[in-house]
Symmetry: C2
Subunit: 197 residues, 2 copies
Amino acid sequence: MRPPDPRTVRSRAAALTSARELLVEQGLAGLTHGAVAARSGISRATLYRLWPEPPDLIQATLTWHIVLAQAPPSGDLRADLITALSATRAMLHEPAAEQGMRVIIERAGVDPRFAEVKESLHHSGTRAVREILTGAVARAELPAELDIDLALDQLHGPLFFRRLVAHRSFDLDYVHDVVEDFLHRHRTEPTRPQGST
Amino acid sequence: MRPPDPRTVRSRAAALTSARELLVEQGLAGLTHGAVAARSGISRATLYRLWPEPPDLIQATLTWHIVLAQAPPSGDLRADLITALSATRAMLHEPAAEQGMRVIIERAGVDPRFAEVKESLHHSGTRAVREILTGAVARAELPAELDIDLALDQLHGPLFFRRLVAHRSFDLDYVHDVVEDFLHRHRTEPTRPQGST
């Protein structure tokens, strides 16, 4: 693969910045190729080539955040969960990502193209926590019978509910509390090394 | 207050039915007074009188569900939580209510009128569980230091996340699991009546 043309990279960055501003100010209704072109100075033709439809633009915005949020697990269950959910917390408090998620939640209910984008983002957005949980089960720090899908909901659900439904902001203490309650409920008793058993 | 004119009740029901259908089929974009008038046969003048703006229509749809969901707590913590969250589950699986919530989550981010509707629905929608938790704290079945707002997120959050973000349906077993994990983590040890202490 050739390195991308620097002009394309600049156009792409300028267009995404304008798209994110429009999304925050006006929601999906304001996110048209015409409005992005007018604000960014990038031609409509270029915009249609980069992101044929509005879902592509929203996906581009959120993917950027999710990629930032990925860090390889260290093997310390508590620390890894806090790192992953702190990244989710940051995304939920970044205006364009937050509004992008709101738009996707609405549109995925009625528009198959958005439902696909939603599916892909949900998959990549929960992969980190899924890997952390699977690893902890393999190390017997979480029980083998743990319902991983339910655990994902119990870890992500409170954050999404508080930000997108209750519409409140929250700090890292909140993330700690959610992780602590989860571990208190599910973590197996640590097996201490003993002499003979 | 005079009893409502039966014609008004019929118009209102017909219009709400059409509004709910449009919401499910097309999301907010399809929910215009013109489209509701065309489908229901109710005049636009009547529609504007009943619900001046689209947020009013969506609020009317969801309020109906939330009112249905309210039952006075019996005092049995587990049973009351399961009853309340089963109603939330039913609402999340009723197409018009589900899409109404999706629309509100999106619009509340950018439109103050929808933010008000969201606030009012969030308040009435979480009141039942709040009362159940407050009662259980008063009876010392839950600890006095319980963070009630966090508990609300831990009980509602997984349901909303699974339905609106993961986009999966779930049954009553799921509600039982969420309640069971919550009680396992937070419920105080039952004080058994004893002879002398």
